[in-house]
C-alpha cells in the first residue's frame, strides 16, 4: 500500500519564496570569498599515491639486472591482451652475472592504448619484475608511439631496491654447490 506523505502547508513567508531566495543569495555571496580548490594542473600536480595504478613499467634490481625472465604469465593474464613478449636467451655480452638464469625478454611490448590498468600483470609476476607506476600522462600523435617497447618500459619502471632477492639466492646456491 502506498504511503501517503503529509505535506506541511507553507506559511505566508514560505509561500512568498523571497526569504528563501535572499537566503540563497547570501549563501552564494559568502561562497565568493572562500578560497579556490582548483589545482592549476600542468603547473601544479596532484599527489600520486604509492599504490596508484598508472602505466605498467618493467623494473631492474639495485644491481641493474633485468628481473623479467620472460615467463609470459603477464602476457597470459592480461585481459585486453596489451602485452606481447618475445622470449629469448640471456645475451652473452652482459656485464653482470646471470648465475643460471637462461631466459630474458628479447622484446617486451605493452600497448598503452589497450592497457586497462587492472594491475593483474603486477599481481601475477613471480619475479616482481613489472609494476604499475605513477605515470598517467600518456599522449602521442600516433597510435604506434603508445606501444611501449622494452627500453621505454625499463625507463618507466626504473629500479626498485629491496625486492625479492632472487639473484642473490641463486648466487649463494651456486657458490654452495661449488664448495
Amino acid at each position: 500500500m502506498a504511503k501517503v506523505v503529509e505535506r506541511r502547508k507553507l506559511n505566508f513567508w514560505e509561500e512568498l519564496y523571497l526569504p528563501a531566495i535572499v537566503d540563497g543569495l547570501g549563501r552564494t555571496f559568502r561562497q565568493m570569498f572562500k578560497p579556490e580548490i582548483t589545482l592549476q594542473y600542468p603547473e601544479q600536480r596532484p599527489v600520486i599515491a604509492d599504490d596508484y595504478r598508472g602505466a605498467p613499467g618493467l623494473v631492474k634490481d639495485e644491481e641493474g639486472r633485468e628481473k623479467c625472465v620472460s615467463c609470459q604469465l603477464c602476457e597470459y593474464i592480461c585481459p585486453p591482451k596489451a602485452i606481447v613478449i618475445e622470449p629469448g636467451e640471456v645475451s652473452e655480452e652482459t656485464s653482470y652475472d646471470y648465475s643460471g638464469i637462461e631466459k630474458a625478454p628479447q622484446e617486451f611490448y605493452i600497448d598503452m592504448l589497450r592497457c586497462i590498468y587492472c594491475g593483474y600483470c603486477e599481481e601475477i609476476c613471480p619475479e616482481q619484475a613489472i609494476f604499475m607506476t605513477g605515470e598517467y600522462e600518456l599522449n602521442a600523435s600516433t597510435r604506434q608511439e603508445l606501444v611501449f617497447d622494452k627500453a621505454r618500459l625499463y625507463k618507466l619502471g626504473g629500479t626498485r631496491p629491496g625486492l625479492l632477492k632472487k639473484w642473490k639466492h641463486k648466487d649463494d646456491g651456486l657458490a654452495a654447490e661449488e664448495h
Binding site: 540563497g24 543569495l25 552564494t28 561562497q31 565568493m32 579556490e36 580548490i37 582548483t38 592549476q40
Partner: protein, 341 residues
C-alpha cells in the same frame, strides 16, 4: 538639423553602441569569473592577465568556426533570426539617457541619442520585437528542440511583457511624463524610484530576467531539457550573434533599471546644479556613475543565475499571470492613492 547636431548624434551613437558591445563582449568573462568564485573555482586565467583576453580569443574562435546551415532549414528566416536577436536591444539604447548634458562649442548637448517624448513606449515596442529573433530561430531551424524553445520564448515574453509594462506605470504617474530625461530629473530632484516604488522595482527586475531569458527564466534555451533551445542548430558567427544579443539585452535592461529606478547618473549628495558646476567633468562623472550602476545590476543577473534553479514552465506561467500581474495592478492602485492631490 545642422552639421553640429549630426556630428553630436554620431558621436553619441558611437560611444554608446561601443560601450554596449564591449560590455556584451566582456560580460561572459565577468560571468565566468563570478560563477567560478561562487563555485570555489578560478575561472578563465590562461589568455592574458586573469584571462582578460579570453573574450577576444573566443570571438576569433567563433569567427573561424565552420558556419553550418543544415539542409532542412528555412534559409531566409534562419539567416534573419540572429539579426533580429541583436538589433532590438541596440534600438532601445537610442532612448536611454546616459549622463548629464555636456557643453560643446557653447551648445548644450543632452547625452541621449533620441530624446523621444514617448521614451518608455519606444522601449516596450522594441523589447517586444526581440522575441521575433527567438521565434524565427525556432521556426526556421525546422527541428523539435528549437521549435519548443521558440514556443516557450513567445509564451514567456508575452506574459512578462505585460508585467514589465505595468510595473513602470507607477513611475510615470510620479514623473507625469514618458520622457526618460524627465524621469531621471524627477529622481534627481526627489528620491530614487527604487525607494518610492519598491514593489514596482521588484516586479520590473523579475520581468527583466524573464525578458532577457536569463536564469531562473531561461526556459527557451534550457540546456538540460532542450539541448540548447532555439539556437541548437546555429554555429559560428550566427551563434555569436545570439550570444551578443543576449548580453546586449542584459546591458540594455540594466541601463533601463538604472534610468527608471536607480536615479540614472544621480549620486545621493549631488543635484543637477553640482553636476553643472563641474562642467564636462560632471558629465563624465555622471556617465561613470551610470555605468557603475548598470554594472551592479549586471552583477545581480550573474549572482542570481548561479543561485537559483530554473523554473518549471507551469510555475513560470503561474508566477507571471497569478502573482506578478495582480501585484503590478495593486502597485498602480497604491501609487494612485498615494499621489492623490
Amino acid at each position: 538639423m545642422n552639421v553640429f547636431d549630426i556630428a553630436a548624434s554620431l558621436a553619441k551613437i558611437i560611444i554608446l553602441t561601443h560601450t554596449t558591445l564591449i560590455l556584451a563582449m566582456y560580460m561572459p568573462w565577468v560571468e565566468r569569473k563570478v560563477s567560478a568564485w561562487i563555485q570555489d573555482r578560478v575561472g578563465p586565467n590562461r589568455v592574458g592577465y586573469a584571462g582578460l583576453l579570453q573574450p577576444i580569443a573566443d570571438t576569433f574562435k567563433f569567427i573561424f568556426k565552420e558556419d553550418v546551415v543544415p539542409g532542412h532549414v528555412n534559409k531566409t528566416l534562419f539567416v534573419l533570426a540572429p539579426c533580429f536577436a541583436v538589433i532590438p536591444s541596440l534600438f532601445i539604447l537610442a532612448v536611454i539617457p546616459f549622463g548629464p548634458a555636456v557643453q560643446v562649442m557653447g551648445q548644450s548637448v543632452d547625452l541621449v541619442i533620441a530624446d523621444l517624448g514617448v521614451g518608455i513606449l519606444f522601449v516596450f515596442a522594441f523589447s517586444g520585437l526581440a522575441v521575433y529573433g527567438i521565434v524565427f530561430a525556432g521556426w526556421a531551424s525546422n527541428s523539435k528542440y528549437p521549435m519548443l524553445g521558440g514556443v516557450r520564448a513567445s509564451a514567456q515574453m508575452i506574459s512578462y511583457e505585460i508585467c514589465l509594462g505595468l510595473s513602470v506605470v507607477g513611475i510615470f504617474m510620479g514623473a507625469e511624463s514618458l520622457r526618460m530625461l524627465d524621469i531621471v530629473q524627477q529622481q534627481i530632484d526627489g528620491s530614487w524610484n527604487i525607494f518610492t516604488q519598491p514593489l514596482g522595482f521588484l516586479i520590473f527586475a523579475i520581468a527583466a530576467f524573464a525578458e532577457t531569458n536569463r536564469l531562473p527564466f531561461d526556459l527557451p534555451e534550457a540546456e538540460t531539457e532542450l539541448v540548447a533551445g532555439y539556437h541548437t542548430e546555429y554555429s559560428s558567427i550566427k551563434f555569436t550573434m545570439f550570444f551578443a544579443g543576449e548580453y546586449a539585452a542584459m546591458f540594455v535592461f540594466a541601463a533601463l533599471v538604472t534610468v527608471l529606478f536607480l536615479g540614472g547618473w544621480d549620486l545621493p549628495f549631488m543635484d543637477s546644479a553640482s553636476f553643472a558646476a563641474m562642467g564636462n567633468w560632471g558629465a563624465l562623472l555622471g556617465f561613470a556613475v551610470f555605468l557603475v550602476k548598470s554594472f551592479m545590476f549586471l552583477l545581480l543577473y550573474v549572482w542570481v543565475r548561479f543561485t537559483l534553479p530554473r523554473f518549471r514552465f507551469d510555475q513560470l506561467m503561474n508566477l507571471g499571470w497569478k502573482v506578478l500581474l495582480p501585484l503590478a495592478l495593486v502597485n498602480i492602485l497604491i501609487t494612485g492613492f498615494l499621489n492623490l492631490p
